[in-house]
C-alpha cells in the first residue's frame, strides 16, 4: 500500500482494477483517501497499458460522483405517458417480480417476443447465454452498427480481425497504413505503439477524409472521399500485380490463390473449388502442376502451382486458379480509374504501391524461429513483410464496407503480412475457421416455448442452410439478421430493432430490455422518428412496443422512454470479466483476460446488470442456471464466473487464469473457488505467454494449433486458408442463380444476392446514393468521436465536458467560402431525410467534398442531469437526424413492397457514413440554438434538484456522500 502526503489520520488505500471509461480496458491503480477516490492512474504492471492512461480514464472520479447517476429502480407512473419520464421509485424485489412474471409468461408462450439488446458492454458471453437459454433469437450487441464489416470481412478472409482478435505489429513494422481511423477501440495500446513506431523510424501513412487524431502525426495524409476506400484498395491490388510487387511464395503456400475454381458457366458448381474426390466439399482442393500439366492435390506434388492461366481437368472441368480470377477482376481497376472515384491522384496510388513493393522485395523480416507447418514441413525461420495496416469504422460503416474490407484483407494477404512479423498479428483465441464458429438457429423449429434456443443468437453462416429463415425464406429475427436480406449479419442489426418492433415487421415484441445503449439518441439513425416510435400507441392505447426496460447507470436519453428502469453500477463498483469466451485482452504472444473488482460499494440501490441477469436466469429456471433438482445453481455473478463451465466438466469457463482446485492450471481446469482473489492479487489480469514457435503464421502453425486444440481454441489441426476467393459467398450466389438445391432466396432478393455475394472483392457506390439527388446533396457527411470521449458515456463528466461541451460542423475552407459561409456561422445541414441547424468551423484538414462533426457531443435537453440551457443541448447537435435507418421504400419487380435497412447487403452493417448533404447559412433572424430540440423528461426520483455553481473536488473530505 502506498501512502501520500496526508495527515496521519487519513485512511489511504490503493487497489487495482480495470478501467471502463471506454472499451479499451486498461489496468488501473485507484488510490482512495478516506473512502473517496484520490487518484486513478494507469497500472504500470498491467501489460495492456503499462501505466499510461487517457483523458477518460483520468476523469473516472467525475463519472463516479456524477449527479446524473440513477440510484434506485423506477417504474413509469401509472397513467402517465411513456416519454414524459414521470417515474416512481420501486424496490428491487418488486422489480424482479414484474420481470419474472412478464418474462416467464413470454418464455412459456412465444419466447421471441422478448428482445435483449445491449450496447458497448463487455459481457456478451453472459448476455448471449441468457438470451440463448431463454430461447429468444432476438439478441444482439452494438457491433451491427459499429464495425461488423471489419469483423466479418476479415474473419471470413483471414480468420481474425482488428482489435481484440488481432492488430498491427508496430514493434516490427516499417510502414503503417491506417485507413479510416481517428481514435481507436484499442485506444491506449495503439497510441503507445504509434509513438514507439514513429520514434524508431517507421513511416505512417493515414488514408482518411479528415486529418485529426492519429492522422495528425502521420508522416503523410492521403485524403480520400468517404465510401471510396474500396476503389483505392482495388487499384493498389491492380498496381502491385502490374509491378510484380507481391510475395508469391507466401501467396502460393498460405492462400487459396492457386486453388482451382470451376469456371464452367453451365455447371451447377460454377465458382466452387474443384476437389480430387469429385465431390463439392472437402479439403482435397486441387492445384495445377504446370510441369506435369495436370491437376494435383494442394500442398503435395509441387511447390510452384500455376497462379494464372486456364486449364481443363482430366474430368473435363474448365478451371482457373483463384488468383487468375482476381487478376481478371482488378484488370480495369487502374490507378486512373480509382483516382476519379477516390480523389487521390493516380501518381499517388502508384507511389503507394511502389513503396509497398519495395518493402516486399528489399525489406522482409526473417526471424530465426523454428516451427512446423500443418502440412508437416519444418521451417528454420519465420518470414514476413513488415507492412502493417489498421482500419476500423471509416471503412466499415458504409453499405459497401464488407467488400471494401475483403479488398483490404486481400491486399494484406498478397503482401505476405497475415500473422507475419511486422504485419497483422492474431490474438488468441483467434485465428478461427468460419466452419467452426458458432451458427445461428436455422428455422422456426429452433425456438420453442420453455426451451433454450437451438443455436447461438449470433453466429457465422457459411451457406444458405445456415441462415435463420422460415420455410418461405422470410426472416425470423426481429432485426431480420441472418435472413436473405443480410445473410452474414454476424453481429445483428441493432439499428433496425426499434423500427421493426414498432412496425411489427416481421412481428411485434412484447418486452424489450435495453442495456447501456442509447437508442433514443446517438445510438440510433433517424433519432427523431425513433423517439416517436418509442412512444407510439395502437388505437386502443397499447404501446406499439408494449414494455421497455432500460438498464443504465445514468439518466441518458433512453431512460426517458422506459417503463421500468434498472440502475446499474459504475465500473468501480462491480465485478466484471473480460472473458476469453468473449472479447478478451489477449496480446500477440498469448491469451490474456482480466477482471474488475469492486473498489467502492454500489451507490444507493445500484445493482450491476450481471447480477440482474444471474438473478433473473435463476428465477426463470433457465437450464444452465439451475441444478438437476431445480434449485438455483449460482448465488450471484462472482459465483457464476467461478463455477460456470461451457459443458459440465469441460474445465473451460469465463476466466482462463488460476483454474484447477488449487489454481495451478491455465486456460483449462476445474473451477477454483479462489479465482477472483488470485486475479486481484495479480493486478486483475492473467496472461499466458506462449513459446516463441507459437507466435507466427498460426493459420498454418502445427506447434500452435496442437496446443490450441488442447485448450479448446480450435477443434482440430488444419490449415485456416487465407481467402483470396471466398467460396462461402459463392454458395449464396449459386442459390440466387437457381443453381443450387436447398434454400432459395425470395425472388425479389435474387438479384441483390447475386450482385453482392461476389466471391471476389469489387467496388460499388454506397447504396443510398442511387436514391439521392447528388446535385442537390453534393457533400458527404461523416462523424468521428474525439479521443476524450471515444466509446465513452461521459457527457455528464464535469471535466471532460469542458473539453467538448458542444460540437461544430467542420467544412473545408474553400467549400465554405463558395457559399459565403464564415467561421462560426450558424448553418443548416440538410439531407433528403431531415435537417439540423448548428454552428460551423472552417478547416484545411478535411477534403473539400466532406463535412464532419464529433459524434454524441450534442445531447437532448434535460438528459444526463445537465441544465436545460447546457451547451450540449443548445449548441451541440447530432448528425443522426440526417441519417435514415432504412433505404427509401421500393416496389420490387415482383410487386413486393421492399423495405431494406440502410446497411451493407452482406452483413447488415449500418451505413452511417453514406449520407449526402447540402449546407447553407441560417437566416439572420433565426434563433441561435441547434435544431431540432426535444421536450425534456421530468425530474426523476432521487435526481438532484439543484446543481452546484462551483465544484471543488478534494478527495477525502467526505463531501461525495451527497453527490
Amino acid at each position: 500500500m502506498d501512502t501520500q502526503t496526508n495527515t496521519i489520520t487519513d485512511k489511504i488505500e490503493v487497489k487495482t482494477t480495470t478501467c471502463y471509461m471506454c472499451a479499451c480496458r486498461c489496468g488501473i491503480k485507484v488510490t482512495l483517501k478516506n473512502d473517496e477516490i484520490r487518484f486513478i492512474q494507469g497500472n504500470p504492471d498491467h501489460p495492456l497499458n503499462q501505466g499510461i492512461l487517457c483523458a477518460k480514464g483520468s476523469s473516472g472520479i467525475m463519472k463516479q460522483y456524477s449527479p446524473a447517476r440513477l440510484t434506485q429502480p423506477m417504474r413509469r407512473k401509472h397513467g402517465t405517458k411513456r416519454g414524459d419520464g414521470d417515474f416512481e421509485p420501486i424496490s428491487w424485489e418488486e422489480t424482479f417480480t414484474i420481470l419474472e412474471q412478464r418474462l416467464s409468461k413470454i418464455r412459456a408462450t412465444d419466447p421471441k417476443k422478448f428482445g435483449l439488446f445491449t450496447g458497448r458492454d463487455q459481457m456478451q458471453a453472459l448476455t448471449g447465454l441468457f438470451a440463448q437459454q431463454f430461447g429468444t433469437p432476438n439478441y444482439a450487441a452494438h457491433g451491427g452498427f459499429c464495425s461488423v464489416n471489419m469483423a466479418a470481412g476479415m474473419i471470413y478472409s483471414v480468420g481474425g480481425s482488428f482489435w481484440e482478435f488481432g492488430g498491427p505489429d508496430l514493434e516490427q513494422a516499417k510502414l503503417l497504413i491506417m485507413i479510416g481511423t481517428a481514435e481507436d477501440h484499442h485506444s491506449n495500446p495503439l497510441k503507445k505503439e504509434l509513438s514507439k513506431f514513429k520514434r524508431h523510424g517507421g513511416r505512417f501513412i493515414s488514408v482518411n477524409p479528415i486529418r485529426t487524431g492519429y492522422s495528425a502525426i502521420a508522416d503523410e495524409w492521403v485524403a480520400v472521399k468517404p465510401g471510396t476506400d474500396g476503389a483505392l484498395l482495388m487499384a493498389l491490388i491492380h498496381q502491385l500485380i502490374k509491378i510484380d510487387g507481391f510475395d508469391y511464395e507466401y501467396i502460393t503456400r498460405y492462400t487459396n490463390a492457386a486453388e482451382l475454381v470451376n469456371i464452367d458457366s453451365a455447371s451447377d458448381w460454377e465458382g466452387l473449388f474443384v476437389h480430387q474426390s469429385g465431390k463439392r466439399d472437402g479439403a482435397d482442393r486441387l492445384w495445377w502442376d504446370s510441369d506435369q500439366n495436370c491437376a494435383v492435390l494442394n500442398h503435395t506434388q509441387t511447390n510452384k502451382p500455376a497462379l494464372t492461366g486456364e486449364f481443363c481437368t482430366s474430368d473435363g472441368i474448365k478451371v482457373k486458379p483463384a488468383f487468375q480470377l482476381l487478376v481478371e477482376r482488378v484488370a480495369q481497376s487502374t490507378p486512373e480509374w480509382a483516382a476519379a472515384i477516390t480523389g487521390i491522384s493516380a501518381t499517388k496510388i502508384e507511389s503507394l504501391a511502389a513503396e509497398m513493393a519495395n518493402i516486399v522485395k528489399n525489406g522482409q523480416i526473417e526471424l530465426p524461429i523454428t516451427w512446423t507447418d500443418v502440412w508437416g514441413i519444418q521451417h528454420k525461420s519465420v518470414k514476413g513483410t513488415p507492412i502493417a495496416f489498421h482500419s476500423m469504422r471509416g471503412t466499415a460503416a458504409h453499405s459497401n464496407g464488407f467488400q471494401t474490407i475483403r479488398a483490404l484483407s486481400i491486399l494484406m494477404i498478397l503482401l505476405g503480412t497475415i500473422d507475419a512479423p511486422g504485419g497483422f498479428r492474431h490474438k488468441a483465441p483467434y485465428p478461427k475457421s468460419i466452419d467452426y464458429l458458432p451458427k445461428p438457429p436455422k428455422s422456426t423449429a429452433d425456438f420453442q416455448p420453455n426451451t433454450p434456443l437451438n443455436g447461438s443468437p449470433l453466429g457465422w453462416p457459411t451457406s444458405p442452410e445456415e441462415l435463420f429463415v422460415d420455410d418461405s425464406g422470410n426472416p425470423l429475427r426481429l432485426d431480420k439478421g441472418f435472413s436473405w436480406e443480410y445473410p452474414l449479419s454476424v453481429h445483428g442489426l441493432l439499428h433496425n430493432v426499434i423500427t421493426n418492433a414498432w412496425r411489427g415487421d416481421p412481428y411485434h415484441l412484447d418486452t424489450l430490455l435495453i442495456f447501456m445503449s442509447n437508442l433514443a439518441w446517438n445510438s440510433s439513425m433517424n433519432t427523431g422518428e425513433i423517439r416517436n416510435m418509442l412512444q407510439d400507441q395502437h388505437p386502443d392505447g397499447e404501446y406499439k412496443i408494449p414494455f421497455i426496460v432500460v438498464c443504465d447507470a445514468f439518466s441518458s436519453e433512453m431512460v426517458q422512454f422506459a417503463d421500468l428502469v434498472l440502475p446499474d453500477t459504475t465500473y468501480l463498483e462491480r465485478h466484471d470479466v473480460m472473458s476469453i469466451l468473449d472479447r478478451p485482452i489477449s496480446e500477440y504472444d498469448g491469451p490474456m483476460d482480466s477482471v474488475r473488482v469492486p473498489i467502492l460499494p454500489p451507490k444507493g440501490q445500484c445493482k450491476p446488470f450481471q447480477e440482474v441477469i444471474v438473478e433473473l436466469a435463476g428465477r426463470l429456471n433457465l437450464p444452465k442456471f439451475i441444478n438437476a433438482d431445480g434449485s438455483r445453481k449460482f448465488k450471484d455473478y462472482p459465483d457464476f464466473v467461478i463455477n460456470y463451465e461451457t459443458e459440465p466438466g469441460s474445465g473451460i469457463g469465463f476466466l482462463s487464469g488460476w483454474r484447477g482446485a488449487d489454481g495451478k492450471k491455465s486456460i483449462k481446469g476445474e473451477p477454483n473457488p479462489n479465482q477472483w482473489d488470485m486475479y486481484a492479487n495479480n493486478n486483475c489480469f492473467h496472461h499466458y505467454a506462449m513459446p516463441e514457435e507459437h507466435h507466427y503464421l498460426r493459420n498454418f502453425n502445427r506447434n500452435y494449433q496442437e496446443w490450441a486444440v488442447e485448450v479448446g481454441f480450435l477443434p482440430k489441426v488444419e490449415p485456416i486458408m487465407l481467402s483470396i476467393y471466398s467460396e462461402q459467398l459463392q454458395h449464396f450466389r449459386l442459390a440466387a442463380q437457381g443453381k443450387r438445391t436447398g434454400r432459395q432466396p425470395p425472388d425479389h432478393l435474387r438479384e441483390r444476392i447475386k450482385t453482392y455475394f461476389d466471391p471476389l472483392p469489387f467496388f460499388y457506390r454506397p447504396l443510398e446514393e442511387a436514391y439521392t439527388d447528388l446535385i442537390k446533396y453534393p457533400l458527404n457527411a461523416v462523424t468521428q468521436r474525439p479521443m476524450a470521449m471515444y466509446h465513452s458515456w461521459d457527457s455528464q463528466n464535469a471535466w471532460l465536458r469542458q473539453i467538448h461541451a458542444h460540437n461544430f460542423l467542420y467544412i473545408n475552407q474553400q467549400t465554405a467560402s463558395k457559399q459565403g459561409i464564415a467561421d462560426g456561422d450558424w448553418i443548416w445541414v440538410e439531407s433528403m431525410h431531415g435537417k439540423v441547424r448548428c454552428m460551423c468551423k472552417l478547416s484545411q484538414a478535411v477534403e473539400p467534398g466532406t463535412v464532419w462533426t464529433w459524434n454524441a457531443i450534442g445531447k437532448a435537453k434535460g438528459a444526463w442531469s445537465l441544465s436545460k440551457d447546457s451547451n450540449e443541448s443548445q449548441k451541440g447537435f447530432l448528425l443522426n437526424h440526417l441519417i435514415a435507418e432504412e433505404l427509401p421504400e421500393q416496389v420490387s419487380v415482383q410487386g413486393n413492397l421492399e423495405r431494406l435497412s440502410n446497411s451493407d447487403p452482406v452483413t447488415g452493417q449500418a451505413g452511417w457514413y453514406d449520407v449526402r448533404v447540402r449546407i447553407y447559412k441560417a437566416g439572420a433572424d433565426e434563433e441561435q440554438i441547434t435544431s431540432p430540440q426535444f421536450i425534456p423528461a421530468q425530474d426523476y426520483p432521487g435526481m438532484k434538484k439543484s446543481r452546484p455553481k462551483w465544484l471543488t473536488y478534494f478527495a477525502g473530505k467526505g463531501d461525495t456522500n451527497d453527490r
Binding site: D2, T3, T5, F39, I40, Q41, I52, L53, A55, K56, G57, S58, S59, I61, P67, E183, K191, K192, L194, S195, K198, R199, G201, R203, R211, T212, G213, A216, I217, E220, W221, A223, S351, A354, E355, A357, K361, N362, M787, A788, A798, W799, Q802, I803, A805, Q813, Q844, A845, L866, D869, S870, N871, R947, K949, W950, L951, T952, Y953, F954, A955
Partner: protein, 226 residues
C-alpha cells in the same frame, strides 16, 4: 535584460514531443485529477453541469492547422507553465508569493501569500497562469511537486501526473541542465527548442518539432531502388 543561467543548478522541466502528441488530452485531465486533491487543490469548476462550464486547469492542449489543403498539418500543442529560467512572473509579485524554487527551478505560488492581484499573469507572456475564481488565488503547473517530493512514492511514480499518463510518452521529464538526463538528450538529439527565445524568459520546457523529413527521404530512396 540579460538572462543569467547557472547551468550547474538543477532545472526540472518537460520536453514535449510534438512529433508524437495525438492531442488525446490525457495530460489535461490527469493533471486536473492529481492536483485537485493535492497541495495545489482544489481546482474549482464553475458551472460544472450548467451552460458554459469553465474550471481551473494547469495544462491545456491547443490544436491548430498549418498550411493549406491538401498540405495541411494538424498540430496538437500542450501548454502549461514553462518554468522559465528568467520568469517574468516572479519579480512583479508584490507579496513574494510567486517564486522560483532554488533547488530545482520549479516556479511556484505560495497560496498563503497570494492576494490574487493578477500581476503575475499579466507578466507571463504564455498565458499559463490561471486565477482560481473560487479560491481567488493564482494557480499554475507545479510539475506535481507533491509527487516528485514525496519519498514515500515509488521512484517511478515521482513524476508529474501528466508524464505518467501520457499515452504516447510525448512528455519527457527531467533536469535539462544534466546532459545525461533523458530530457537534455532529447533536446540535444531531436532539435528541442524554446518558445520565443527573443522574449528572453529562457523557458525551461522545450518542444521537439514535427519530423516528416524521413518521408521525402524514404520515398526518394524507394524510387531509386526500383
Amino acid at each position: 535584460m540579460t538572462v543569467e543561467t547557472n547551468s550547474k543548478t538543477k532545472q526540472l522541466a518537460l520536453v514535449i514531443d510534438l512529433n508524437v502528441c495525438v492531442g488525446c488530452q490525457a495530460c489535461v485531465t490527469s493533471c486536473k485529477q492529481w492536483n485537485t486533491s493535492g497541495t495545489a487543490g482544489p481546482l474549482a469548476d464553475h458551472n460544472p453541469y450548467d451552460a458554459d462550464p469553465v474550471g481551473t486547469f494547469f495544462n491545456r492542449v491547443q490544436t491548430f492547422e498549418v498550411g493549406e489543403y491538401p498540405d495541411t498539418e494538424v498540430v496538437h500543442f500542450p501548454k502549461s507553465c514553462l518554468h522559465c529560467e528568467n520568469p517574468p512572473c516572479v519579480p512583479v509579485c508584490p507579496t513574494g508569493a510567486s517564486y522560483k524554487r532554488a533547488e530545482d527551478g520549479i516556479v511556484l505560488v505560495d497560496y498563503d501569500k497570494c492576494i490574487g492581484c493578477n500581476y503575475c499573469s499579466w507578466a507571463c507572456p504564455w498565458g499559463v497562469r490561471e486565477l482560481d475564481e473560487y479560491k481567488k488565488v493564482m494557480t499554475k503547473c507545479t510539475l506535481c511537486v507533491d509527487r516528485i517530493d514525496d519519498e514515500t512514492l515509488e521512484e517511478r511514480d515521482r513524476k508529474p501526473a501528466c508524464v505518467l499518463a501520457c499515452p504516447t510518452n510525448a512528455r519527457i521529464f527531467g533536469d535539462i541542465h544534466d546532459p545525461e538526463s533523458d530530457a537534455a538528450k532529447a533536446i540535444e538529439n531531436r532539435g528541442g527548442y524554446q518558445l520565443m527565445p527573443e522574449w528572453e524568459t529562457n523557458p525551461s520546457n522545450h518542444y521537439l518539432p514535427r519530423d516528416n523529413k524521413r518521408f521525402a527521404e524514404q520515398n526518394q530512396a524507394a524510387e531509386e531502388q526500383l
